[in-house]
Symmetry: C2
Subunit: 394 residues, 2 copies
């Protein structure tokens, strides 16, 4: 029989699907990084990134994975032998611990538990106990569990205790609000391959003056990820990069950021809000629990607890191999226990429809009792309720 | 009048031009980095990289500029407060000094001078003086001057003194021979955007067991660029990456490495040899001196001393703005004094013809007395002498 499901769908929270216009831009002939044609793109990207970070600060760009931007925060803010606090609630939060330890920090680790939020009151209590902590590292959207933390409240608590705060927003930036300047977040790091709709390979760090000043006070132990060197280059007119920038990725980023600008950042957030709501409604209609607390802001990835009776690890594998729909399963201690449905970046209602249709069919194939269309129908209802644009004039 | 020169030509030594097949591969829909379809590409790239590095060692891959691979060598080999020796002969060699100092080394810096080679006898003398040196950092192809060092001899000298050697082959690897295992080079670092015919964004480090062992003895001060972590991931079956790999760049790299495999590495070197010879012959025919020593191995970029009477800084600018041909001028202390004609990666005879045609016309426009076609003609003669393949059977 013909394979009905030959067509492939990337539905993961990173790498996320790339808009065709972005792919086309990256396939253009490569430009010399010092040629005016590229410098123009580079300058425009740096400016557009500030809009997405909602900041007047420098948004420093590195050729690296998102983890490279996290390392830049650690390498520039950590001082060997001094304490820092990591407030984590999943795999990516724990990466802050590994990085900070590698750079010689005394790490005070608050593990809120996988699937929980970091509670601001708990952070406040810990900072009161450990008065020597000058930097707090935490996570906006914990991709391993779908949890989104209240960065505004955590920032207030950190600042009240006299500490800076650095936030991993790799999967959250551009999907859920983190207005850096309004909330006064000192450092926001992100990557190109999530809500910014580009391939992996560019890493970003929005850094305020306090963070830059702390870095400057303690030079060394870094070069590639040195904020001062990169800020100096980027502040030139025209802006410059201390190392060869990943030119094709910038060509794509320019187009992706223009798409975000055209859609409007608030509308981008609203789209993610509706997609998240639809995913949670679909899970509920299938009598499955979303992992983590009920949260109207958890709009990056929806982690769904898999039914007890089936082989959980088989779910993403079967969805991909049989139906051509690639989603992520659980990582680390959640392996085989959850399915992660992404809605981060270049995602739209019918991506949620497709993903849940494949998810339902997969559960049925694995022997779980599912009424086909139930989850999909619940998602459709959310979309209609959110409002459908009027038909274009004929 | 119509602009005859609207068509653009990238003739720099990095980023270098990208073959259309590579661009096309990168424009395909992005893959999830843990999906079998990508893991297959990833594994094949890791294996093909070993062929280009001519090694059985691990070739570790980072999402970074080439400088990131240099930093990995420093972060893994340097121990704070201990001496290392940097043998440099230009801008990129000096980057080793900056990196090693940032990581706390006591740097013994042998500056052979811009435009000179590093002399093995001089390295031998210095290592005899500074017996505490355990690592030597140097450069294969110094892109700022066109000089190519004798890495085989420098490796022998370093090893005789009991030191490891780490070589920046960012612009040299895949253009001029550096058979890592035959010569016993401990560390060879490179990047995607030079002879490997890809955009910037992937950095490589071919590391032997001695280098890995030294890194392992002194952990910390690094995470993103940690060799041990990356080697552990890459040695798994199937191979894995500790951080999200730059998937689209790998898609391109796979195609580029296949092109190198199909052409044959020795034929690739021979092509670069003929292109380098043609560029030097063209310069000579124009009564201009190649910068640096006469060298049959300097086949990555030809640096040409510009005539005294003209505004040297105007040469690359005019070539680009008037004729659409982008080359690089001099960097740092050579600004305005040289033009750098690249022949590194996806370059063929008519690229040299085009570049010298534009170069001659530019010199004429700037008031230098040039008989048009002289340099081009000398290059053509070299190409014919090198042999033209027989016509394909009709």
């Amino acid at each position: 029989m013909a394979n009905l499901f030959h067509k492939q769908y990337l539905m993961t929270a990173g790498p996320t699907p790339i808009p065709p216009a972005v792919s086309q831009a990256m396939a253009q002939p490569v430009l010399y990084h010092r040629a005016p044609a590229f410098v123009e793109v580079y300058a425009r990207c740096l400016s557009r990134l500030k809009d997405v970070f909602q900041t007047q600060n420098d948004v420093l760009v590195f050729a690296a994975s998102g983890s490279g931007a996290m390392e830049s925060a650690v390498a520039n803010l950590v001082r060997p032998g001094e304490p820092v606090l990591v407030a984590s609630c999943g795999k990516f939060g724990e990466r802050w611990v590994e990085l900070a330890e590698a750079f010689g920090a005394e790490v005070v680790h608050h593990d809120a538990g996988w699937g929980n939020r970091v509670e601001p009151a708990e952070l406040e209590r810990l900072l009161a106990e450990d008065s020597g902590v000058e930097v707090v590292f935490t996570t906006l959207s914990e991709t391993s569990t779908g949890v989104v933390n209240d960065i505004q409240a955590l920032t207030e608590v950190a600042h009240a205790a006299g500490a800076l705060i650095a936030v991993d927003a790799v999967s959250g930036l551009g999907a859920v609000p983190i207005p850096q300047d309004d909330w006064g977040v000192d450092v926001v790091v992100s990557g190109s391959q999530k809500a910014l709709m580009c391939p992996p390979g560019l890493a970003f760090a929005g850094v305020n003056e306090a963070a830059l000043a702390r870095a400057e006070e303690s030079p060394g132990r870094r070069a590639y990820f040195d904020w001062g060197a990169t800020a100096t280059g980027q502040r030139k007119d025209p802006p410059d990069s201390p190392f060869t920038p990943a030119v094709t990725l910038f060509m794509g980023l320019d187009v992706a950021l223009e798409m975000i600008e055209r859609e409007g950042l608030e509308d981008v957030f609203e789209r993610h809000r509706v997609l998240g709501r639809a995913a949670r409604a679909a899970a509920k209609a299938l009598d499955l629990d979303a992992f983590g607390p009920e949260d109207e802001n958890a709009n990056v990835v929806t982690a769904i607890k898999l039914p007890e009776g089936i082989d959980g690890a088989a779910v993403p594998k079967l969805m991909r191999d049989r139906f051509g729909v690639t989603i992520a399963g659980g990582q680390g201690k959640l392996k085989g226990r959850i399915a992660r449905i992404a809605h981060c970046g270049y995602f739209a209602p019918f991506d949620i429809v497709t993903t849940f249709a494949a998810f339902e069919m997969t559960l049925r194939e694995l022997g779980h009792d599912v009424e086909l269309g139930t989850g999909v129908g619940a998602a459709q209802a959310v979309f209609l309720e959110a409002g459908v644009p009027a038909a274009a004039p004929a």
